[in-house]
Every structure is written in structure tokens, then in C-alpha cells.
Symmetry: none
Subunit: 195 residues, 4 copies
């Protein structure tokens, strides 16, 4: 019975997050009020505060799960050939991220510039496991076997941040150029970084 209650609790919580996600996609994080979220979720206003401190609290968690989702999608979309070769894999990974954002601009707008490598996740055990696997694959840089995982993670982190930022500004504002014109430069940068 305790389990069931816990399940119900997380269910209500999830209901709110899902509703918030839809609202954020529709109107942006800034312009979405808690009022809207609870209305979309069909729960009372007070219920929101049972599960979240405030909107920033909820947003942050949503940024993490959404970043996770994008990263997993981008990795899953790699072909076997790309996975076989580290250089092609990492460039293909970046490419898939851009393609995801191009195809899902509302998600990009929701994330704003908060696309990050998810550190502490608690989505689901399955997702956590898969994400760990993705990280392992991307950290195993054959060009620099001397590097420890921490160091390689810093390189990876920089690459992801770069993709997030330049992706955002080029897709949304065509700054400093369109994403299509930025791609070759970014891929060359990534290749140079991992080499």
C-alpha cells in the first residue's frame, strides 16, 4: 500500500511536469504562469507546492530531463557504421543533435540556452543506464588513451556546450550564420578537439 501511494504521488508529480512541458512548449518558460500549469494539469494550485518549490525548481528538472531525451535520441539515431568509428560517431552525434533541434524548434526554444550534459538524473532506471552507456561510448576517445575519464569528460562537456549555444543562436537567430553554414565549421572544430 505504501508503494501504491508512492506511485500515486510520483504520478501526480509527473502529471504536473507533463503539463508544464506542454505549456512551456506553447508559450515559453518565461510567459508560463503556475496558474496555467495547474490548469493544464487539472490539479489545484496548492498541489503544485506539494511537489515543487517554485517554477524555477520545476524548470530546472525539466531542462535536465529534456536534455537527456535529446541526447538519447541523438545517440540512438547513430548508424552502426558511425558507431564503429569514434570520429564519425562524435560528429554524427552532434549532427543528430542539430537535426533534432531543427525538427523540434519548440523544444530548442523551451531549453533556451539550458541544454546541458545531464549530471544527476533520476528519470527512470532504464534511461539512466542507457545514458551511462552513451557517456561511456563518447568518453572512450581512442586518440587520447592517456587521458582519464574526468579529463575526457571536460572535452565532451565543452563540445556539448558549444553545440548547444551555437545551435541555439544559429537556428533561432541565424547568428552568426545559418545552422547549415555553421555545421561544417562546428564539425571541423569537433574533429580537431577530439584529435
Amino acid at each position: 500500500m505504501e508503494k501504491q501511494q508512492k506511485a500515486q504521488k510520483s504520478q501526480k508529480r509527473q502529471t504536473i511536469m507533463d503539463a508544464a512541458y506542454r505549456c512551456f512548449l506553447r508559450n515559453g518558460v518565461q510567459k508560463t504562469s503556475i496558474d496555467e500549469i495547474v490548469q493544464e494539469a487539472n490539479v489545484a494550485k496548492g498541489t503544485f507546492y506539494l511537489y515543487f518549490k517554485d517554477k524555477a525548481d520545476l524548470s530546472q528538472q525539466l531542462f535536465i530531463t529534456t536534455s537527456c531525451h535529446v541526447i538519447l535520441q541523438a545517440f540512438r539515431a547513430l548508424t552502426p557504421e558511425e558507431r564503429a568509428d569514434y570520429d564519425r560517431m562524435i560528429v554524427g552525434f552532434a549532427d543528430n543533435i542539430f537535426d533534432y533541434f531543427i525538427a523540434n524548434q519548440p523544444v530548442l526554444l523551451l531549453l533556451g540556452r539550458n541544454f546541458v550534459w545531464p549530471r544527476l538524473e533520476s528519470l527512470s532506471q532504464a534511461a539512466d543506464a542507457e545514458l551511462a552507456q552513451v557517456r561511456d561510448s563518447l568518453l572512450r576517445n581512442p586518440h587520447h588513451p592517456e587521458n582519464d575519464r574526468e579529463t575526457n569528460f571536460k572535452y565532451l562537456y565543452s563540445i556539448v556546450v558549444l553545440c548547444g549555444e551555437v545551435g541555439y543562436s544559429s537556428i533561432v537567430h541565424q547568428q552568426p550564420d545559418t545552422i547549415e553554414n555553421m555545421k561544417p565549421v562546428l564539425y571541423e572544430i569537433i574533429r580537431r578537439i577530439v584529435h
Copy 2:
């Protein structure tokens, strides 16, 4: 007389921007109200709206001038030896940016993650000229003489964005590590990018 009036006009505008800058440094952009700004500037509320559409309008302009300022400072602080060698110059430039942010964390907080390469500026003619010179120096990458200016700018833009983002997260949140621990990685990345 007309000149004087015009001078006075731009002066009022500058007064407001200066006041806003001080407020933003003190309390952050988000937590600063227009009320506070006009009080700090000793002008009437209506005067604000004579020169700016809203707070976002003013913020944006402040981000640009502040980014300019940081870039100019970082370039001016380069030693003659650093200027003589492109690789050392660009790494020294990044280093100076980090040092500036470390020494002036409120400025970093003000910029938030809005540190950008200033495209269209209208600070003062002198600053514009110097900034153009800075750009020219940084774009003249001897390792890739085949690249046109546009292409080189994209590389430069990516470097600046990377420094801004990783600088912000590492200095403010020690994410993914302290700035001191990130520096070697970032400098290595920059060196690889320009090579």
C-alpha cells in the same frame, strides 16, 4: 546650442544606462525593477520610456557594451610577446577574459550567459575603431591563410561562445569543475581549433 541639446539628450540616456549598470551589478538583471533604475539615475519614470522600450531593450544594449568592454580589456592586457605570436595571443586573450571575469564576478553575473562577440556597436567611434582592430588581429590566423574572413570569424565566434559559457558555469557553479581546472582543457581546445 543645438549641439549642446543633442549632447544633453544622449547624456540623459547614458545616465540611465550607467544607473542600470550599477543596479544590475548590485542585484542582478532579473531582480532590478525600472523603479530602481530611474531612482538610481535620478530621472522620472517617464524619461526611461523616452529612451528605452522596456527593460529587455536596455539590458540587450548593456550586454553589448559590456561584452565590448571585456573584450577590449582582455586584448589591451596582452603583452607584446603574446601579440607577436598568434597562438599565444589567442590563448592569452581567452586567459585575460577568464581573469577579468574571475576578478569581476559581478560583471559575469550581470552578463549572465549573454557574453557575445559584439557585432553592431555604437559605443564611441574610438571604441569601435579599436574593436575593429582587435577583430582583425584575432582573425588573421596564420595557420589557415586559405580561409576567408567569414570562415575565420565563425571559428573565432565559437571560441568566444565557448569561453563565455564554460567560463560562466565553471566560475559561478564550478561546473563541471573549477575554472582553474578547466583552463588547461580550454586552452588546449583553443590551440587545436586555431591550428
Copy 3:
């Protein structure tokens, strides 16, 4: 318990309308701010927006209920003799409206020129029923039994509008003459219209 809550809810709404009515009578609709209304009603500002979209929304509803009130008063004040004869009834009705406005000029000022025949009301069931009865009595014009209700209503509507407008301008501005001097003309007009 639920009933009590519902009652309390509509009560709050009514509290605000009553307060607004007093404010409007005191200072006019235009010069009354929402601030004043909520202060008079002893409710929080946000509560106002829980029940009304804005001041115009509230005003409109107040115009309707006030118009209703005036019409009911004017009809109730008819003597049995007046009620017995249609011509005397309709002229007496108009006369009572003028007398009400003369005796309650603030109400006239509140209504401004928004005295209308209330179409869709939802004051109270009792008031609605009585109003329907008033309408029936006034629509039953014995001089024109051939007219349908719709047509007779158009005549009645015109009479009410005429009384509202000319009443307003003659009582408030003595335009084109005092109400006492306008009365004979208006009554003659009404008599001619219904004949």
C-alpha cells in the same frame, strides 16, 4: 457545506458590485479606480480580478442591474387607475422614470447615457419574473392588436431610449430645455407613438 461556499462566493462578488455602485455614485464611473472599489469593498485587489475582467465588465453589469431597478421602481409606482388604462400607464411609466431620475440624479449620472431596456438579466429569479411581467404589460398595446410582440417591443425600446437620452440631457444639462418643459412634449410623443 458546498452550498454555503457557493453562497459565500457569490456574496463576495455582490460585495464588490455594491461597493462599486457606491463609488460610482460618489465620483462617477470614469473617476473611480479599481483601487477605490476594492478598498470600499474591503477585499484584496486580486479578488476583483477573480470576478470581473476589468472595470468595463463590472460597469456593464451594473448598468443592467441599475436599469432594471429603475424600470421596476417606475412600474411599481403606477397607481391602479394608471394600470387600468394603457395610455395612462405608459405615460405614467415614463413620468415615473423621469421622477426617479430627478430624485436620484446621482443614479442618472452613474448610468450616464447607458439606460437601456435590460435584455438578458440574472439579478434574482424574483426580479426576473417581475421584469417579465412589466414587459408583458407594456407590450400589450390595445391600439395595435395586429402587431406581434417583436414589433411592439421595437416601439417600446424606442420610447425607453428616448426617455433615457432626453431625460439625461434635459435633467443634467437643461438641453434643449428643462425636464419640466420637455415633459409635455415627450408625453405627447409617447401618446402618438402608441396610438
Copy 4:
């Protein structure tokens, strides 16, 4: 020279009124600010206050001149046959007013419910003279030679007010019915009033 100055003065005044007229037609009286008017008129803000006390002052004058204009148009559009017979003339006059408002709804919206018989005018000598003539024609009711001018004017005033109000509500809000369905009723009313 004095004359010329006076001419220039009235010219500037007229410029502002014309600009206000255009603004009012575009956005309504309520939503037009003095700022907009002076901008449309290409004069300085202070200039407005040299000629008008405030917006209400200007509006009132505009209501009068516009009402005049409508009345003159409606009278000019009468056919010789209509002019020959008083009953046909007054009904035709009302008809022309409605047609004008139907064809120029923005003017109707501008006037709001401020369509009145112009008492004190100061448009131009020519217009004033013509208006006096219109009044004379309409006041000469052959069915009631015993009435003095004052009395007849009260009847005429009531007719004009009625047309203004019912015209407004039926054209703009189809209340209580469309103007086309109201016309027969109104014409019958007018006929009865003048008889």
C-alpha cells in the same frame, strides 16, 4: 498682417482638429492620446495646449462639426419631390442619416452616441447659413401651425436624438434588431410624431 496671423492661427488649430479626426476615426476617441494627435498633425505637444484645454474640449468641438456635416449631407441628399412634402421630407431626412452612417460606420463609431443637433456652431459662415436653412425647413411642420418654433424644435430634437441612439445601437450592435428591420418602425414613429 494681423489678419494673416489670425488666419495662420486658425489654420494651425484646424490642422490639429483634422489630425484628431483622422486619429479618432482610426482608433476611436478613447484610445487616441494627445501624443498621437500632435504626431499626426506634425506639431509640437505644447502647441496643442495653445488651442485646446484638453482632449474633451477638442472632442466636443469635433462632435459638433461632425454632427453638422452629417445633417447637411442628409439634407442635401433630399430629392425635390421629398422636399415638396413635409412628411416625406422628414422621413427622407432620417433615412439619409441612417444611410450615411451605414456607409460611414467609422464616423458613427467616432460620434459614438454623441450625435446631436448642433446648437452653437462656428464652422464657417456658409455652413452656418445652410444649417439655419435646414432647421427652418424641418421646423415648418404644416400639421401643427399652432406650435411655436421652440416647441417644434423640441419635437425635432427628440427625433434626431432617437435616430442617433437607435441608429447607433442597431447599426453597431444589431440591438434590438438590424437597422433594416428598425427602419420601418422608426419611420412610422417619426410620421406619428410630426402628425
